[in-house]
Structure formats: structure tokens, C-alpha cells
Symmetry: C2
Subunit: 305 residues, 2 copies
């Protein structure tokens, strides 16, 4: 089954203590759709300018990402530039040029409106709601968000939450949103505000998943070296939504969500191993399955062979 992915498409310039690359494919929808494509066909909605490389459309086609929902607007593509600190844990945004993204309004092609799985990648919550308004009857809605929307468009975000099945956010955002220090309290509180499930990402410490009476905790894949953390969260969300769309049947249950979280973590761990999406461009499903098995070995303490 396909998954619809809506979000930003950008050309990123990223500097780490050891490398710098300009105008690399970036944006929440680019990372998320590539992550999802390993598990299910993707329908991509976004906007690019007339300077956007045609080769990326070919790349999407090869990865069964249907880019017929990507608008081509007059002007330049959204550009973002950032620099990471020495430990890659913090980053500073050097410049943002919204360009054609400034007036982006996601309009779904007719044949995208009946898609049952949706990933609202990180964009303004009002746009995320606008996407849902156009859909016939989505079966499972995953939404990603960020500190900016919690701060500046809280009302829009609050209005979106009851329409979301799985909300994904990181630990500091969960604390910011609830005023709770305990992530357990924070996750449970956010769930009560609407989403059926809440996933809290904790970077090197893994992720937590909250359901009504269910709880799941997983670690992060043990990487010694990270080359570029850009897009890790978007890739995680893409892996989760893609797995649910492609690998589950019927109603999504907590057990499937557990596995989806692991697959999201696997994808994100590959993504940060190289600059931009470079690692994911050559990634195989065998490599994904091997790392999934590693996750099992490092998490399970009963019934191991």
C-alpha cells in the first residue's frame, strides 16, 4: 500500500567539523519519502523552484517515489544552511531562504486523495491540516512536528492533534509542549491531547512509544561515528510510516508500531553515516534487515537463540 508524504523539499548547505557540502537534496519530505520508499511506494507532495536538479526526479522515480504531486514554481528552491558543533550534537542555522516554499500550499493530485497512509512531515501544522482536509478517508495519519510550531503556532498544532494517529516529536519538544520534566509524564499528556500514539525521539538514547495502556522503549543503534545528523528525524518518520503502509494489514496495532519504530531507527542510523542522503542512495533491503536483527540482539533479553 502507498504512503502519501507531504513536507518541505530543500537544497541544503551543511557544514560539519570535517566536511562541507552545498546544495544537497534536503527538506523533511525528501528525507521522509526516501526512508519510506524502502517499505512501500510513496506519493510525494511538495514544491521546488526552476533551479531544482532534474536528476532528483529521476532518482525519485528509481525509488518508486511518485513525484507527480511536486509543484514546480517560478523562482528558487527553498534553501537551508547549517553548521554543526564539534560533537555534532548541536547545530546553528546559518541562513534560511524560503523562496518558492514561502507560498506553498499543498494541493493533492486527485489520485493521491484516497491514499490510506499519510505522513505529514515537518511543515506548519495549518498546512498539515490542509492536507487532511483534502483526503477522503485516511486510515493512519503520522505527523512530525518541531519546536518552532510549538512556539509560534500552538493553536494550529492543538487543532491538528485529534486528527493524528501517531505524533512524532523529540524529547525537548515533548518537554516544551507539556512543561513536564519527566518524559513519561510528557508522552502520556500529549497522547491525551489527541493522538492515539506518541513517539518521543531521544537521539543517542533511542525512542519511547506511548499507547493507551501500552509502552515501548528502544535504544539507538550504537554508532561510533556520525557524519551528518541532518534529516535523521525525518528519515525516522519516513521509515515508520513506510513500514506501516507497506508491511501491515488491517488495523495498525501496537506490536506493528513497535517494529515500525525499530525500522525507523534503522533507517535513521544509516542516514547519519554519510552526508545528506548519500548513504541511503545506495542502501539495500538486506542491509536494513541485518541491522534490524542487530537491534533484536541488542534489545532482547529473553528467547534469544
Amino acid at each position: 500500500m502507498s504512503v502519501l508524504v507531504v513536507g518541505s523539499i530543500a537544497l541544503d548547505t551543511v557544514k560539519t567539523p570535517v566536511e562541507e557540502h552545498a546544495d544537497q537534496l534536503g527538506g523533511s519530505a525528501s528525507y521522509a519519502s526516501l526512508g519510506a520508499s524502502f517499505f512501500s511506494p510513496v506519493q510525494l507532495v511538495g514544491v521546488v523552484g526552476d533551479d531544482f536538479p532534474e536528476s532528483e526526479f529521476d532518482f525519485w522515480k528509481q525509488h518508486r517515489i511518485d513525484a507527480s504531486g511536486v509543484q514546480r514554481a517560478k523562482g528558487k528552491t527553498f534553501r537551508w544552511s547549517g553548521e554543526y558543533a564539534w560533537d555534532l550534537n548541536t547545530r546553528e542555522t546559518k541562513s534560511v531562504a524560503l523562496n518558492v516554499f514561502e507560498n506553498f500550499s499543498p494541493t493533492l493530485p486527485e489520485n493521491f486523495r484516497e491514499t490510506e497512509f499519510v505522513l505529514l512531515a515537518n511543515i506548519a501544522p495549518s498546512l498539515q491540516s490542509h492536507v487532511l482536509d483534502q483526503m477522503k478517508r485516511p486510515r493512519f495519519v503520522v505527523a512530525d512536528t518541531m519546536d518552532l510550531w510549538i512556539e509560534t503556532t500552538r493553536k494550529d498544532l492543538d487543532a491538528l492533534l485529534p486528527r493524528v494517529d501517531l505524533l512524532i516529536l523529540n524529547d525537548s519538544e515533548a518537554r516544551q509542549m507539556t512543561g513536564e520534566t519527566s518524559l513519561i509524564r510528557a508522552g502520556r499528556k500529549i497522547r491525551k491531547a489527541g493522538p492515539k500514539y506518541v513517539a518521543v525521539k531521544k537521539g543517542e538514547h533511542g525512542a519511547l512509544l506511548f499507547g493507551e495502556d501500552e509502552f515501548f522503549s528502544c535504544g539507538a543503534y550504537p554508532l561510533e561515528d556520525i557524519h551528518d545528523p541532518t534529516g535523521a528525524g525525518d528519515t525516522f518518520a519516513g521509515g515508520v510510516a513506510g513500514y506501516l503502509a507497506g508491511k501491515t494489514r488491517g488495523e495498525v496495532n501496537f506490536q506493528q508500531l513497535r517494529r515500525a519504530l525499530i525500522y525507523g531507527s534503522v533507517l535513521a542510523s544509516f542516514n547519519v553515516e554519510a552526508f545528506s542522503m548519500d548513504r541511503m542512495r545506495s542502501l539495500t533491503t538486506d542491509e536494513i534487515d541485518q541491522r534490524y536483527d542487530m537491534f533484536r540482539m541488542m534489545s532482547h533479553f529473553e528467547v534469544l537463540e
Copy 2:
């Protein structure tokens, strides 16, 4: 099989934002031996003053903790007093009076010297080495340490490491000891300095376990409310060492260590639910097993019923 536990025995005065209790049983060996006692008989070595309540000796006896290695010295028992910040994440030591602990030199009763499992709870590494010097042929040595020893007695600590099978320390101590930001690098580096296995505790984020080619990661039990974090690390170490002594046969392997870490986490999670050791004083093995099963439910994503 018994486990020998050596460390400090104190009377603690602890203040949290909601409660304050004076002269409660505390110290690394007190918490660790009680934690261990749920899985195996304990041989306790430490020192108390002539003001130490006789009732605690009765309490130890009820918990199959053999306190014949506890020296009774002239003078006052070691006293520690601390206060926790509003979120219980940081604490300030208000006062320390070493008293009889100042000149403590752990001397093992003859019948303790052949014990095969040892937990060197948190005390100066020179004393930890002194304990090992007196032992015939320990099969598995667990050692706990802290920032103070890394800072002030690093040489003694380095000399101890090759004699240790499992070193337990927390995340900031692992970083401090190695100068590495990545806990994965830090854990692997410490293992290369001597211990066969290294466990890194991460508080609310659980724990990591490093072996030669093996890695294990577990979350923390999801508690909404913590009443008193004092002794959580000592209890964890006690649970780990007690489980290994009481529940494993033959050579300790990585799979047994995985389970030991979970039992340590279970014990620690109970311990912080009430002041001092109050929760552990009434804890049952059924409650421990139930929480162990919860850990399985929250960690496993394959082969769940």
C-alpha cells in the same frame, strides 16, 4: 551461591522538595546488599559506629544478609546529608561526616574469602583492590565506582580495572573517564582498559552493556513519580551481582548479563519509589518478576505473544 558485598554503611539525612528524613540506613553496601539479597544470600563487609541501630542487624538477618563482616568501631557511624533539586535530577551534598568510615579497612572473615561472586560497591578503589587481595579465587568480580575516584585516585582505579569482570559506572563518569562524547566510544574504550564487561547507567534512559563483540541496550522502567533517587545506582549494582551469584551456573555469559541488567533495573526502579530503602523492605519476588515481565513487554518487538 552467595555474593560478597563490600562498601560503605551510612546513616543518611535526605531532603527532597516534598519530604525530609533523618538518619535512615544508607551507604553503597547497604543498598547493594539489600538489592542482591532478593536473588542470593549476601555476605556483608563494612563498618558502623556504636550509635548504629541494632534493629538493622535484625533486618539484615531476615534478608539472609550475613553481617558477620560488619565491624563495630568506637565512635559515630558515617553520616551523609543531601538535598535534591525540584526535578530530583540533581542533588547537593549538604554535609559528610566520615566518622568511623575514615579509617575503614575491609578485612574479610575467613569464611568470606572463598566466595566466588564479589560486588565491590562504591568505595575508594584502593580498598576495593585490598578486598580482592584477600580472596582465594573470585569467579566474577563486579565493581562500582564514581566521579570522585576518577578525579582523585585515577591510578588506583586503573590498577583495579584488569581485576574486574564487570565495571559499572554512569554516563557522565564514562565520559569523564575517557574524554569521549559518544557513550559507545567511551564504553568500548573503558572495556579495553581491563574489565571484561562495562555497564553504563543512563538514569531515565536506561543502561548500556559492552562485551568484546557484544552490545546490549535497555530502557528504564517508566516511572511517573520518583520519591527518593538515593541509592538507585547501588541497588542496581546489587541486583546485577545478586542475580549473577544466585541464578547463573558455570561461566557467566552475555545472555545472563543481559538478564542481570534488567533485574538490576527492576530493583532500582522499586527503590526510588519510596524514601531510603522503604520500598525494598516490603518488596516481594512476585513483584520483581511482574516488573521483569513488563520490561520484556516494553523492550521486545519480536516473538511477543
